[in-house]
Structure formats: structure tokens, C-alpha cells
Symmetry: C2
Subunit: 254 residues, 2 copies
DNA sequence: AGAATAGTGTCTTTCAGACATTATTAG
DNA sequence: CTAATAATGTCTGAAAGACACTATTCT
């Protein structure tokens, strides 16, 4: 089984980026219009092949992040590998997908060399409203699912925010990514109780419409304790059900 | 940036398996002795290259699982991609690691064609007691970390158990994987309260030393609610600590 | 004075952790 | 009987969800 003159098959290695951000309180993903076959003209995730045989995979992801989205120093983590035979008509292409989280920026996209890049609402992408090349819709779904899960247990939410932010800003992140409404008062308490999640950023404040809010910045904690738990409903969706009524009813006590 | 006659670099794609199981209440990982260069004679994770250019990656993982460990129908999930240039002296080899969970089986290994396979204690592997080829020690660490985390939120623990099991069996899984001691009475209650985690398997029972225990089988739930939380200590190890009470006094009202 | 948002407090239920107690087997 | 493990119960504190209330700004 070993010393054969057999040669293992070679594959082409690509990286694809699921870059998420918040725009007007909605979760968006960055897509580019493909300029070459296959799927020329279709929307796709930013990405590309390894530049050369010596490039590290994460390095390639950061390069594409910079080239195609003009982003540096953003959160980046490996999401998964997508290598189903036949997913790319050019041959055996295996793609390593990365999840990137970008803070809400005013400008559409910065120094992009693919000027065709645009932010699309994730709901539209996932609900067949928008067609994507390859299996990219599936990858986006996995990326969003990863983000949803990590918001519970880690401080990932701060990656969606600017250097400093208010607790409302942070709440918008949770609401947009989870697709739920949260009680501001309970949210406030929970965020404050999560040790090391956020720390006060000077005695500054900020103005908008009502009372000015305190500013915070990301704290030292990477994992949250206590975690930011989603309600039983949200988490238990795939829990097999029959899973007890959860007691929840309007609550008509007294 | 597109219509060049440029050719992207090709890589060799391998799969590596982190197969975890419980043996006498300890977490073990399956290793094989390499028969070929590089690292001939050294211990390594079971795995190998894609069989041909049309083989799906997970299919390759299941094939290796069967060939090298004689295991079928076990839990299998993608763990990550390890493709650092230079990790394999033969050239650019990118390895997709999978995490497999096998139930405790009496026999060492079944119909293995690599007769050199052996179960090693994970603690020994991770604490430099045992040398592994390539970056496989690192991969084992990632696999164990994944298992630890998933035990909290998912029903993964049942994958370590046989078809039916007692609550003590399940507790041993948690204790071995997390490396902690748990209170049997609290564990009993928590497991029972996790909706859909385990369901009674007939009114049968089993004998050992003390009172016979009820038998259960895995329930329908994939995610646990409420989750099986590790103590604050364990989870908050990297929580930054010194993490001030926040209380932020930007405005010292009153 | 609104309207709007920020921040605090309170009450009830659920669950985690510590630990007593009872139940059912083997010797 | 004792030893051993299984199963249930009880108490306390932490935290979640619902929601009243106060605080600080703008118009």
C-alpha cells in the first residue's frame, strides 16, 4: 500500500472570502461581479487562487481581502473547505473559505481593484433572491451560521464595530446577525456582566437624537462569561422539538 | 487581473483523521506508524491523499476511516485545513483534517490494513511525551479543543457511547474530554433537563457492582438546551481577567 | 412640554453548584 | 449487615426575561 510509483492527484487551491459587515442595521456580505468564465457576469464571493506555490493559505486570504475589498486588520478566521468534484467546470478546484468581519464603514468599498464589488443584504442572498456563482450561496450560509454561533460565546460582535462604540451599536450587531429584536435594558445588563467583553473608552460621549451614550471599546476577553445566550426558541430550532412548550406565553400573571 | 495566460499553482490534497475515543475512562487518539518517508517510523494521524481526481474530500476521509481504522458509521466532521508551505518536504501538500468520534470498543482496532495502528492517550500526545510527524500534534490539539467545545452545546457526547448507555457512561465522556470531575447528582439532573439529549431505551437495565442503571439512547436533539456548561473557571481561563466591573462612570450623576 | 434614547432597578423563573437522602443491587 | 452505585430532593445564588422607572439630550 505504500511504495507504489503511484502519483496522487493534484488540485487547484483557491480562497474565498465571506466578508460580513453591518450597513444600516442590516447584515451585508461583499460580492463581486465575475469578469471571467465560468459564471462570467455572475456575482461571487471575492477570492482567487494561490498566487504561487509558496504562499500560505491565510496569507492568500489576507491578500485577497486587501486587493478586492481594501480591508486590512480585520477579523479573519477559517470557515471550511469546499471541494466537491464538479463544483468548478475548470477542473478540480478546492476552495478554502474564510470568514471576515469588517466594521461598518461609511464608504462603499475602498481601494478595490475589482471595482465591481458591492455589499448585498445577506437575507436576499440566502433567500434565492440573488444568484451566486459556484456553491457560494452555501458558503455564505455557513459563514452567517458561524457568525451567529460565535456571537454567543465570543467577543466577535466587537469586530463589527468601530474602535469605540455604544452599547446600542453593539445591540444592533446582535439584532442584525441573529435577526431578532432584543430588549435594550436586558441587553445592557448582560453585556456589562460579561466579564472583559467591553471596557469604558474615556468619559466621552456622543450625540444623536436622545441622551448621549457612553463609549466603550473591546475588552480583553475572547470568550464570554457569562455567554450572550440566544433565547430557547432560537437555539432549539433544530433541537428535535417536542422539546417542551418553553413555558413562554404572553405572561398574564397577577 | 484576469485574462492572463497565468496558471495557478497546483497542490496535493490529503486528508488526516483525528479519531477520538474513550478507553478506560481516558481520551485516546488513533495513531499509525508511518511506513514511508518522510517521517518513516514516526507516529502520525491516519490519512492519505485523495484516491483520484474525482473523489470527494469527505468521501476520502470516510475511506481512510474504514481502511485504516475499520470504522464505519461514526461521527465525522471537518476540522480544518493545514497547508503551511514547508509542512511536508515532498512539496506543497494541503491537508484537510477531520474529527471522528468512535464509541468505546473492546477490540484494539478491527480490520485495519495498517496493522501498526494504536490508541494513544491524548494527554501524552499533547504534552510532548509522544512525537508526531508533520504538524499532527497541533492538529490533535485542535481536534480535542473542538470536541471539548462541542460537548457543551451539542449532543456530541453520545457519539462516544455505544448504542445504549447509562448516565454514568455519559458522565465519563464529559470527565475524560474536559479533564474534570463532575458531581454525579448534578450531572444527572442537567442531562435529563437538556431537552431531547437522551431518551430512555426500554425499561431494561444493566448490572455491574451497585444498583443497576437505566439505559438510554441518543435523543433527537443536535444542539443542547439548556447547554452543558463548563464551570466559570474552565471557560473563563482566557477571559482576560482583571476585567474591571465596567460600571463605567462617565457621568457621575446624583 | 414632548419625543427619543440612555441607563437603573425590581420581580419571577430557570438553572448551576453544593450536598443530604433514599433506592437497589452484590457480597 | 456493608459496600457500591443509582436516583431523587433541597437549598442557595447567578443569571434570564419581562417590564417600570429615572436621566439627559433635542426640538
Amino acid at each position: 500500500m505504500n511504495a507504489d510509483p503511484w502519483e496522487p492527484p493534484a488540485v487547484l487551491l483557491a480562497v474565498d472570502l465571506v466578508i460580513l459587515t453591518l450597513r444600516d442595521a442590516r447584515l451585508h456580505v461583499l460580492l463581486v461581479e465575475r469578469g471571467i468564465e465560468p459564471y462570467s457576469g455572475a456575482l461571487a464571493l471575492p477570492g482567487g487562487f494561490l498566487a504561487d506555490a509558496h504562499e500560505d493559505i491565510e496569507e492568500a486570504a489576507r491578500r485577497e481581502l486587501s486587493e478586492e475589498a481594501g480591508l486590512v486588520d480585520v477579523h479573519l478566521e477559517m470557515l471550511g473547505v469546499y471541494g466537491r468534484p464538479g463544483r468548478d467546470p475548470r477542473g478540480r478546484v478546492v476552495s478554502v473559505a474564510y470568514l471576515a468581519i469588517a466594521p461598518s464603514l461609511p464608504e462603499p468599498i475602498a481601494g478595490t481593484d475589482a471595482a465591481s464589488a458591492c455589499w448585498m443584504r445577506v437575507d436576499d442572498v440566502l433567500s434565492t433572491q440573488v444568484d451566486l456563482a459556484f456553491d457560494h450561496r452555501h458558503i455564505v450560509g455557513d459563514g452567517v451560521e458561524r457568525a451567529r454561533a460565535k456571537l454567543e460565546q465570543t467577543a466577535l460582535a466587537t469586530a463589527f464595530c468601530a474602535e469605540t462604540f455604544t452599547i446600542s451599536d453593539l445591540q444592533q450587531v446582535y439584532e442584525a446577525v441573529w435577526g431578532v429584536r432584543l430588549d435594550p435594558r436586558n441587553f445592557y445588563r448582560k453585556v456589562q456582566n460579561a466579564r472583559g467583553f467591553i471596557v469604558a473608552a474615556g468619559p466621552m460621549r456622543r450625540t444623536e437624537n436622545g441622551r448621549p451614550a457612553r463609549l466603550f471599546k473591546a475588552g480583553p476577553a475572547r470568550t464570554l462569561y457569562p455567554p450572550m445566550v440566544r433565547s430557547a426558541q432560537a437555539s432549539a430550532e433544530d433541537a428535535g422539538e417536542a422539546a417542551a412548550p418553553v413555558t413562554a406565553q404572553g405572561g398574564q400573571q397577577t
